[in-house]
Assembly symmetry: C2
Homo-oligomer: 477 residues x 2
């Protein structure tokens, strides 16, 4: 009596209604679902396991760079926000408040932790010996969004990591701000198989209170850009606001330099959009909680087949393998189920396979089927999983590359934005000009200022004033 038989698969095509398709994949693959509380989500075990993979990968990486984990309060006193005016203004619309009746104080649920952390930093940092200070925290944050909820991409509460470092010199700070960006790029590309563009944000899109924001942008299959992570060089803005000072080796007092950097569970959303298909979730093997599922095919010879399947499972100790030996479900039903749930590789074992000392290997990404001798299994599984990982990345990379176009003038620009392209143009950098571009194109925003800039710059695509840099515009999540 299999449950949800009739409604097992994805009912909407990716090409038909991307947004609804995405929602259905997330829910039916049991990654997450909408909470009864408006704007909130429940991250289910299959979704959370992806987050644990991301955490494990990244946590190891930053610990090697000398970053340590810590935990700061969820609540932020109202007065802290006021200390850095631009920061306060940037976050004000998204804050949720708790009132302490007894203290008559108002606290915001943290939307990010610069202010509460730097208040402590001011107490801890005394001399150059205390620097660099490199802390990170894995936690929940709240931003009271009014736009429509989208699982993993836009919810009022989400999980993230936020790194907050303090340095003696501007050079060191800038250098490491870019090192964390590089770590993010590797995480996106090597673990999640999502290719990204790197660059700097324009003044309009910069982090509230920071000096320079570096960003990674991926392009989703519907032509919308998605910000994957940001690393902010905060300059000395917060040090001034929170009175962080240190005595240098020369025993004089200085203001330190700071950065902060973060990514969130939104990465899971990117992953799902990028690789999944009309049959459901597709996961790159390196981040898949279950990498291989073994489906035994038996009639009246169950014991024999299960025994063989168990042997095969034991041969694959280096992988996350599940043996689906549930009764009451047909093999076909199980295939659909595991395809829906995004397991990268399926192994089928039936009576004939046992006889021939072989198994059937089926790839989730392209559905290719291969008969493999059991003696070759370990080698073949390794190769196949690597190949799936690489193919997913290459496919996404090809799409990204083919989606970046240049526009020589305003008309071309508008046309290419309508074509759902990432459009590379000269831009004056002016906030008002950028506002106008957004308005006239029904939402195109500057995604990044490319790291590679030509020697000779042209006129701004919109206002025709002197271009300041080459910028990529696009619509975004």
């Amino acid at each position: 009596m299999p449950k949800k038989e009739e409604n097992q698969g994805i009912t909407i095509k990716k090409s038909q209604d991307f947004s609804e398709w995405y929602n259905e994949v997330v829910i039916k693959a049991e990654l997450a679902e909408h909470s009864v509380i408006k704007g909130f989500m429940v991250v289910r075990p299959r979704g959370y396991a992806i987050w644990e993979h991301i955490q494990e990968y990244f946590d190891n990486r930053i610990k090697k760079l000398g970053v340590k984990n810590s935990y700061f309060p969820l609540l932020i006193p109202e007065k802290f926000f006021k200390k850095e005016a631009e920061h306060a203004k940037g976050f004000a619309p998204e804050l949720a408040w708790v009132m302490d009746q007894e203290q008559r104080e108002k606290y915001a649920l943290r939307p990010t932790s610069e202010t509460i952390m730097y208040d402590s930093y001011a107490n801890w940092i005394r001399s150059w010996r205390d620097l660099p200070l490199r802390l990170n925290q894995w936690c929940n944050v709240l931003r009271w969004e009014v736009k429509q909820t989208k699982l993993f991409l836009r919810t009022r509460e989400f999980l993230w990591q936020e790194g907050h470092c303090v340095y003696e010199t501007e050079e060191e700070c800038e250098k490491e701000t870019l090192i964390y960006l590089k770590e993010y790029k590797e995480l996106c590309e090597e673990l999640l198989a999502v290719p990204v563009l790197e660059g700097k944000k324009t003044e309009k899109e910069r982090f509230a209170g920071g000096k320079t924001t570096y960003t990674l942008e991926a392009l989703m299959p519907d032509g919308k850009a998605l910000q994957m992570g940001t690393s902010h060089n905060l300059g000395q803005n917060f040090a001034k606001a929170f009175n962080i000072k240190f005595f240098g080796k020369d025993e004089k007092e200085y203001l330190p330099w700071q950065n902060s950097w973060g990514f969130s569970t939104r990465l899971i959303g990117a992953l799902v959009m990028m690789h999944s298909d009309d049959k459901g979730l597709v996961l790159p093997p390196r981040v898949a909680p279950t990498q291989i599922v073994i489906v035994p095919i038996y009639f009246d010879d169950k014991n024999k087949i299960i025994k063989k399947a168990t042997e095969v499972k034991n041969m694959l100790k280096n992988y996350e393998v599940e043996l689906d030996d549930r009764d009451g479900y047909t093999p076909g039903w199980k295939y659909n189920e595991w395809e829906l749930k995004g397991v990268p590789l399926r192994i089928e074992i039936g009576p004939k396979d046992v006889e021939k000392k072989q198994v059937v290997l089926v790839r989730r990404d392209n559905n290719k089927k291969e008969f493999i001798k059991v003696t070759q299994l370990d080698k073949k599984v390794k190769e196949t999983l690597e190949d799936i990982q690489n193919s997913l990345f290459n496919k996404a990379k090809k799409f990204l590359n083919s989606s970046i176009v240049e526009a020589k003038n305003w008309n071309e620009f508008v046309k290419q934005i309508k074509n759902k392209k990432l459009v590379k143009v000269f831009f004056c950098g002016n906030v008002k000009c950028e506002d106008e571009i957004k308005e006239k194109t029904d939402g195109a925003t500057s995604r990044l200022i490319s790291f590679e800039q030509p020697k000779k710059l042209g006129k701004c695509v919109h206002c025709s004033k002197e271009g300041k840099f080459l910028v990529i515009f696009g619509k975004a999540y």
Copy 2:
């Protein structure tokens, strides 16, 4: 120019003012500190690293038992609390509220997640095939305590894990409720070297909304008991309140059985109180973020000594080792620093040691010093760390055993409670009687109903009615 030279060590003796001593150890060992927000704490990297060790140990254990991690919203709608009346009443005084202006709904910051999780469970559970469902989450919770803040022990926000399982049968539920209690006991005793007593809570101390609460209690050196973790058999109370039902194999509808179980960062507090001394933090090696510190002693031969110290460090790859090669601090200052911070083992290397191919090994727990040939190092370090772990446990166990006494009558009971003992007595189980005991003894509460009960029971130590069971009373945190 070493910082905080004058104020480096602990200034209060453990025997003199236990509470102030504890506070000083936590702050000076840089485990945590009080936040500017009343009742909140900042967990610093050295404290958080202990939490990470606890998480890693426990997370591995429960995953082997089939538990999966997930994440549910921080906020809980007011109406959810009202569904289980006793639960609502129990937590009402400690709730902090957020108001959604737009929705006109009131949400509590989670003090525990039964209600928000079981609302989802009701949607997910359909048939016996969906059971057992075993989920856990690692998260922050808020309980708006009015009593004085105590770092790790009583703060308005703390970190914890909460496991929530659902079963087909009462037997299975009860069996696993006790399995998680056993896991907690092993965590406390094997990892933290804190011996615990196991038992059941009386009606008065039971979890609000549950059927039976099992508990682990440790005894702190000041004679106060500390609850280390609880595992609640919830019976069918929440299933009824949240309408969780399943179809059995016989296709009839049933209410399932549930448990929930949790421990928090308060374990770090227990650890610190239990083992630390007048020089500062003492940590059992298995949970110590740094297990060994190497302090080189040099005059004009720095390079030679550092080279040797580095060799020694490389020999100890299986351990968490720090080489303190900072200039400008004397070896003596460094010894104090690392003793304060609780590193279990110190290795000193000076010119004479290099000559004699030896190092000096100094234990943090008993200050014993030994000269070890470098060839013997690996073996000796292993033995010594194990011995430290065991000695700390044995010392604590001896203290616990010697602190449990029996009382034949009320006068003896009162006297032994004053003596800061755990007092074993027959008790009627009546809530009112227990309230009176608490009042008359200035705070003694029942800690647990022992698992081992005598065949013949005596009269209640307080009201002289029929005793229902043998109970351990004591003062508690």
